[in-house]
Amino acid sequence: MAKITIDNQEIECRDGIPVLQAALEAGWDVPHYCYHPGLSVVASCRLCLMEMQLPHPKTREMGWAPKLFPSCQTPVKDGMVVRFDSGAVEQNQKACMEYFLLNHPLDCPVCDQAGECHLQDYSYKFGESESRMHDQKQVNPKKDIGPQTLLYSDRCVMCTRCVRFAEEVSGTEELCIVNRGGRAEIDIFPGIPLDNPMQGNVVDVCPVGALLDKDFLFKKRVWFLESGDSVCPGCSTGCAIRVDQSDNRVQRLKPRYNPGVNEWWMCDEGRFGWKYVHDVERVTRPRLRRGAEMETPAWESLGEIVRYRFEQQVDRHGAAKVAVLLSPMMACEEAWLLAKFVRELAPDATIATGFVPMVGEERCFPVGCNADDAKFVIRREKCPNGRGVELVAEHFGGSTCDFDGFVTKAGEGAFEAVWVVGGYSEEWVPKALATSLAKIEMLVVQDMFESALTGEAELVLPACAWVERDGSFVNHAGLIQPFERAINVPDGARRDGQYLFGLAGFEGLYSGARVRALMAEEMDAFREIAEAPRQPAHQH
């Protein structure tokens, strides 16, 4: 730890970090464009310049040096004295802002970045309300640089964050600077669009409205958005994300800073992979078979019916004929509640862990690096909580098996009463499973979309999308990460956690934290998280 003095206040900070980073972490609001903690330092925007005390060349006496230093490029040193509140620093910020705004269009009302734009904020803080320029503004063209991204180069402030991102993090190097000086522009190479699995991040790192996401373009003004802190369910990496919603509809996903997991980034697969949440085909109501008819039971009476029917099966065929298939799309809490319910009814019931979709290979970024040096990995395991449901199954012990084992056993006719959980965005039921489960007496299917199984089921329960639930996922490395609910469930549905909470014999409202506290009493893995949930700090 180094001790440095900023504006007469002594702070402690980590060794070797830039002064700017130390100041930002200690709560200073130092303006900056080009500096990003996840990218290399170029010190090109000159907004973060500071004054620093240096020894006088002759007298060796410490005094304020006559020139300003870029705080992003100056590493902290024990005993260092710097200041941001001096006239020279403020004058520099004003002068820089005037340059940034010289050619910048006044189109905030139609710019998607307005409201979360650093140029807008700093202009408000340091900028003049009138320009002194008499000449016409230089208008740079609007460019379509890739299938998902637009570049409005006249809004660009040439911080080169996007160029550095494509070089250092995605490693795909599609972006470059063309021309020089005041005519410099960001561009792609002819015929090579910005099209890599990480490209959405360039929109996030852009401090102004130059790079925009086509998916979110003109959809909403950002001040209408409300956010929930969530975890991406796209793969087992478990990126911390922010779900931005308005009017109960997801509008976009953004990464949250999450050290050691996804840092500042997320992949496009996760970023744009939420569309199924608003699919009209989703199962939103419970459906119960009574004789030949299917009817929609009231949520209130459901617990009793399910319990009664399962008890019947246990009486008729014995507890060993009962099985539950826990999906890796479930939160740990939901899996625990369901397993608890089933084991209470039938102590010999089999707990199986669900289908784990594996697609392609692990993709490491920057491209071409190996897994150890990777800054970001898109995993082939396309579910968020494989580890979590395994943990739950291990905890309950007894008769457990994996998905393949479950399919085999079901084929052999080992079960008569089965609760199957899906919740995948795509078709997942293998034919063999559908035919063998069609024959059994009692099949409960909890899924998001209709499948071969829902047609055969005695009871169909709606599974909600992860943005509608709260709980926790365990990522590939065993890290337990809680996520919040961002939007409400569709009309007629109820959160999975809520009805499972009732079934498992608890009263009142379900919340992830509440169930985690109960789990912590039995499971060591959840003790720490129940006491102090890991909440990564917001950081742009």
């Binding site: 705004l101 010289l102 910048h104 269009p105 006044l106 189109d107 009302p109 139609v110 710019c111 202009s123 900028g127 003049e128 309300s129 009138e130 320009s131 320029m133 016409q136 503004k137 208008v139 740079n140 609007k142 409005y152 006249d154 809004r155 373009l217 003109f218 959809k219 003004r221 001040w223 209408f224």
Partner: protein, 192 residues
């Protein structure tokens, strides 16, 4: 927080002998009544008769202005929706089909029943596309009818442009994102 020293107690003034008699006050009241009986009457027989209104600043039904080429002038910036205290404006923006503009509203609904006619939308509009008109006789049979969509609001403009012409402000267009045409820079002194 109101402190004791800030409170001033004002006593009721004592009535004079004449005031306590009440009769002079009644006579005074009758005199005012009589005076008005012989004055020019200000009531009108609505709806047969209608009064002259100050067209410039009367806050009646909204309209969406058209630009010189007859297109909707709105750039779908959502400023009116943001400023609206009654949350009665609903806009869906999209990329505009025209070269000189970035965005335009594909849908623009105002719930005239929910509106409180405060005029904040007009204040907030950066291109003077939404304005309140002198039209006040707003009737409808259903609630749906009173939710004015883009076409209806443009029709209000067509109806009222004679009585209240559009000012056609110098700041127009938001031509592209560049705004390089000379209109944009001067007039209001906003220039970055």
């Amino acid at each position: 927080m109101i402190e004791e020293k800030d409170i001033i107690n004002v006593d009721e003034p004592e009535l004079t002998a004449g005031e306590r008699l009440y009769l002079p006050q009644i006579a005074g009241g009758m005199r005012t009544t009589l005076r008005h009986m012989f004055k020019k009457k200000i009531t009108v027989q609505y709806p047969e008769q209608k009064r002259e209104l100050r067209t410039e600043n009367y806050r009646g039904v909204h309209r969406l202005n058209r630009d010189e080429q007859g297109r909707v002038a709105c750039v779908a910036c959502f400023m009116c929706q943001t400023a609206c205290p009654a949350h009665c404006i609903h806009i869906v923006g999209a990329e505009s089909p025209w070269e000189d503009r970035e965005k335009y509203p594909v849908q623009f609904d105002i719930d005239e029943l929910r509106c409180i006619y405060c005029g904040m939308c007009e204040e907030a509009c950066p291109v003077d596309a939404i304005e309140l008109t002198p039209e006040y006789d707003l009737v409808g049979r259903t609630r749906e009818e009173m939710i004015f969509d883009k076409e209806k609001l443009l029709m209000v403009f067509d109806r009222t442009k004679e009585t209240k012409p559009r000012k056609n402000p110098k700041i127009t267009g938001y031509s592209g994102t560049g705004c390089a045409d000379e209109h944009t820079v001067t007039e209001r002194g906003e220039a970055h």
